[in-house]
């Protein structure tokens, strides 16, 4: 048993990481589905979209061959509408509430239709919004992820000059670094970022990390400096640190964070990414699924997902779970990691068998240790038990927080005047689409703050 890379042929990698949700190939194909849309009033799909995209309208616009209008309708509510069409768990959002479900008919493929319009806009670089004349106001945004980009676009539209400080070398945040490659390609993420900044008035400064005492050689910026140089600051720094399991053996070679594992896949060539023969993935969220399926797609012989509750409590959707199952991943419910064993390297994962007890704070029945254990022979353990916020950084900046999650008021403002925040850094980690909405809310608050006379 060993961890190694380059397990497959180029063709196999190509096939394993090709688009899992292929687009409509022709206008006709899109029309057939678009014409099924009932054009609901006060549509449940729209109400189930965190960014409230006017879905019936954009679908109707496909049927009238007003694709530009369709893309505009989408981007007006969600400037990352193209990316969201690929990564949103639509089965629990728009498509999940499509009224066709109530007729036991297949829901309108809203994501696929949204992709149809937005991909055309990106491919043709239709800039559908006109930036207003520069107001001379300047805003700094920290983080070029969905929340930051969304905030930046709204501000740029209103004539604000935006500078985004991004610690990575590419924009897009978790869209670029934290999602399975078969959902969005690195190229697509780059195209989407370029499309968004294409409106003008947005500059992204890469490899710039927010922090107080940076190690020598690392470029950085401080909140104080940003406050001084800009009219307002928006913090969209996300979450990033993987939650630790706090069990023996966690430091063995072969134990890896899911986020780091996915980041590698996104940031290097597939054949260069290491993966074990027998891999255990801990967790059952979207990130756990993305890690497990991609471990399998990189050529792992056996992937086992371990989750301490049952299928009923799982955080991922049924659709996601099906991807893992179809990829051949094993699933073990009611199993909590107890110890990782090995001599320098991972050899075994010992799990406690659990049972469900009383409901916990989340309302889900909490897992209780039965005292029994079982052991999996594995050479790699991927931890996907959730991400935690940058607590130390946030405390250093003297920002009010709840265990590292930024606290903002109803006006999106932190405790520091002129400093606003949103996205995963505030909510602890939700969908891309939630972050996009947070960015819009933040932008609105910032506009009120820097140009109160215009926005009252």
């Amino acid at each position: 048993m060993a961890i190694q890379n380059n397990r497959l042929t180029a063709e196999q990698y190509e096939q394993n990481f090709s688009d899992i949700h292929p687009p409509f190939e022709t206008h006709n194909a899109a029309l057939v589905e678009a014409n099924r849309c009932l054009f609901c009033y006060d549509a449940p799909c729209t109400k189930s979209c965190p960014t409230s995209i006017n879905i019936p309208k954009f679908i109707k616009q496909i049927t009238t061959e007003n694709i530009k209008g369709s893309a505009h309708t989408i981007f007006q509510s969600n400037i990352m509408g193209a990316g969201c069409s690929k990564v949103c768990p639509v089965e629990k959002l728009c498509e999940g509430s499509c009224v066709y479900n109530l007729m036991d008919e297949p829901a309108i493929p809203i994501a696929k239709l949204q992709r149809y319009s937005t991909e055309k806009a990106l491919a043709n670089n239709w800039q559908l919004f006109e930036r207003k004349k520069s107001t001379g106001k300047k805003v700094a945004i920290v983080g070029a992820g969905p929340a930051g980009l969304s905030c930046a676009h709204v501000l740029a539209r209103e004539g604000v000059d935006v500078t985004i400080y991004e610690k990575e070398s590419k924009g897009g945040g978790l869209m670029t670094y934290g999602i399975a490659a078969y959902k969005v390609t690195p190229q697509f993420c780059e195209d989407e970022v370029n499309y968004i900044v294409g409106i003008g008035g947005i500059e992204i400064k890469y490899n710039q990390e927010l922090g107080k005492d940076l190690p020598a050689g690392r470029q950085g910026i401080t909140l104080a400096k940003l406050q001084k140089n800009y009219d307002s600051v928006y913090l969209a720094i996300g979450v990033g640190l993987a939650r630790q399991l706090a069990i023996p053996g966690e430091d063995l070679e072969g134990v890896e964070d899911a986020i780091k594992f996915i980041y590698e896949i996104r940031n290097t060539k597939y054949e260069k990414v290491n993966v074990g023969d027998k891999v255990a993935v801990i967790g059952m969220g979207m990130t756990a699924i993305d890690a497990a399926t991609q471990a399998k797609r990189l050529g792992a012989n056996e992937v086992t997902m371990v989750y301490r509750r049952t299928e009923n409590e799982k955080p991922c959707t049924d659709v996601e779970l099906d991807i893992a199952k179809l990829d051949g991943c094993n699933i073990i419910w009611l199993a909590a990691p107890k110890e990782i064993k090995g001599h320098g390297k991972v050899e075994q994962l010992v799990c406690s068998k659990m049972q469900l007890g009383e409901p916990d704070a989340s309302g889900r029945r909490s897992p209780v240790d039965t005292g029994e254990t079982f052991t999996l022979n594995v050479d790699m353990v991927i931890k996907a038990a959730g991400q935690i916020p940058y607590e130390a950084l946030i405390k250093d900046c003297a920002l009010n927080n709840n265990h590292g999650k930024l606290i903002i008021d109803a006006n999106q403002s932190t405790n520091i005047k002129g400093v606003f925040a949103g996205g995963d850094a505030v909510n602890g980690g939700k969908e891309v689409v939630d972050a996009v909405q947070a960015g819009k809310d933040g932008a609105k608050a910032i506009l009120n703050y820097i140009m109160p006379q215009m926005h009252e």
Binding site: K47, V99, M103
Partner: protein
């Protein structure tokens, strides 16, 4: 099994479905294929003086993702030499003596031309004639087709010429491009036509190309008004048919119903409103002749379900139910009811009623599903909500008479009853 065989003016066919005079009936090869598929009869594409056609000839209106909701054409009468048509008619009649092979005619505007054409066609074996007084494009510029049908006196004159010569049944086909089909209908019945058929196509422009700015169909940068047909014209045809069926003179002769008939259901509706048989074209041009199978089977099953043994058991049955507005019962009232178990919360009933009708539906906000209920005291019973509801039988109209007795508009006025309900 019901008997769906038809006898129209003594011309027998195994079913009441004829193919209308049009491109599908222009040649022997088409007609043979139609008869092999099971069609009861054909009206051979119009014969007359030699003409030339142009290219292109057809255009269509699509709707909601469906092709050819409406269809139009600028094709003239048969552009094949008369001799070939006559020879092929003879061959077809010999091969299929049990089918109704009718020939459509449009001779030049003089007695001799009509007499000569009639003689030749009868000699060829035609079982009946249909006089084309309806073609709305091209031929009208030469004073033929609809130009004849639009003028009751000219139509009368031509029918008189025909009746002098014809020894087989004569059907006169009426144009809908008039404010009423009845005057010409009456005129040709007086002149002796044995039967009527309607409607021919309606003058139309199906659309304009948004790149070339030229309407359809396109002929070298120009277009002309074409004859409109297909499912879109059915309601207009049914209305015109009813006016003919209800007229005391024209209602006495057999009527062949035409206009957007695509299914057995459409055919039954025409027959209920007085058509003795029906003619089909656009549906066949869209799908081919195979549609005849379901037309026959569907008609048969429906007749069995309703207990009708022959076509005559229901032909014209709905004609008396079409009345004058002032005879309608004002005390009849029904109101909408939404079945909450079937409702899918699409809100279409609400928004149409709220924006365009009588604000008679309550909205109770929900996330993501709203609840919609009827304000019974506001509902005027217009049917709009039921019509737009995508779920069958989710919205039903429940009878709630204002008063038990019948009262119409005339009586209402005579009794001096209040006019303003609001």
């Amino acid at each position: 099994m019901a008997n769906i065989s038809s006898n129209f003016l003594g011309i027998k066919s195994p079913n009441p479905f004829w193919l209308a005079s049009a491109p599908p009936t222009d040649k022997k090869i088409n007609v043979i294929r139609a008869y092999e598929a099971g069609w009861g009869g054909v009206v051979w594409k119009t014969l007359g003086s030699q003409v030339k056609n142009v290219s292109s000839r057809y255009s269509a209106v699509d709707y909601g993702g469906q092709r050819v909701m409406g269809f139009n054409n600028i094709e003239l009468i048969s552009d094949r030499p008369l001799d070939i048509n006559l020879k092929e008619i003879t061959e077809v009649v010999k091969l299929f003596p049990d089918r109704a092979t009718i020939v459509s005619l449009m001779a030049d505007n003089n007695r001799e031309s009509w007499h000569e054409l009639i003689k030749k066609c009868e000699d060829a074996g035609a079982m009946g004639f249909e006089l084309n007084f309806g073609c709305p494009h091209g031929m009208t510029e030469r004073g033929m087709g609809a130009a004849v049908g639009q003028d009751p006196e000219i139509a009368c004159m031509v029918v008189e010429w025909v009746m002098e010569k014809a020894t087989i049944p004569v059907i006169t086909k009426l144009t809908p491009n008039v404010h009423s089909v009845v005057p010409t209908g009456r005129s040709v019945v007086k002149a002796g036509t044995h039967g009527l058929s309607l409607i021919n196509t309606i003058q139309s422009i199906t659309g304009v190309d948004l790149d070339t700015f030229v309407p359809n169909p396109y002929v070298a940068g120009k277009s002309v008004f074409g004859g409109y047909c297909g499912p879109a014209v059915k309601p207009i045809a049914l209305k015109m048919l009813t006016t003919i069926a209800q007229d005391e003179l024209t209602g006495k002769v057999p009527i062949s119903g035409i206009g957007g008939i695509s299914t057995w259901k459409d055919a039954v509706e025409f027959m209920l409103l007085g058509a003795g048989n029906v003619q089909v074209c656009t549906a066949a041009m869209k799908h081919g002749f195979r549609i005849i199978e379901d037309m026959c089977e569907g008609l048969n099953n429906w007749m069995d379900e309703k207990g009708f043994k022959t076509l005559n058991d229901f032909i014209g049955k709905s004609v008396p139910t079409v009345t004058h507005w002032e005879d309608l019962d004002i005390n009849y009232h029904h109101i909408a009811k939404i079945n909450q178990d079937k409702c899918i919360h699409c809100g279409l009933c609400y928004i149409t009623c709220e924006d365009t009708s009588h604000q008679s539906i309550n909205l109770t906000y929900g996330k993501p599903y709203n609840t919609y209920t009827i304000k019974e005291e506001e509902c005027v019973g217009c049917n709009l909500c039921k019509l737009v509801c995508p779920v069958d039988n989710c919205i039903t109209m429940e009878e709630q008479r204002v008063a038990p007795e019948y009262i119409n508009w005339k009586m209402w006025q005579e009794q001096g009853l209040p006019l303003n309900d609001h």
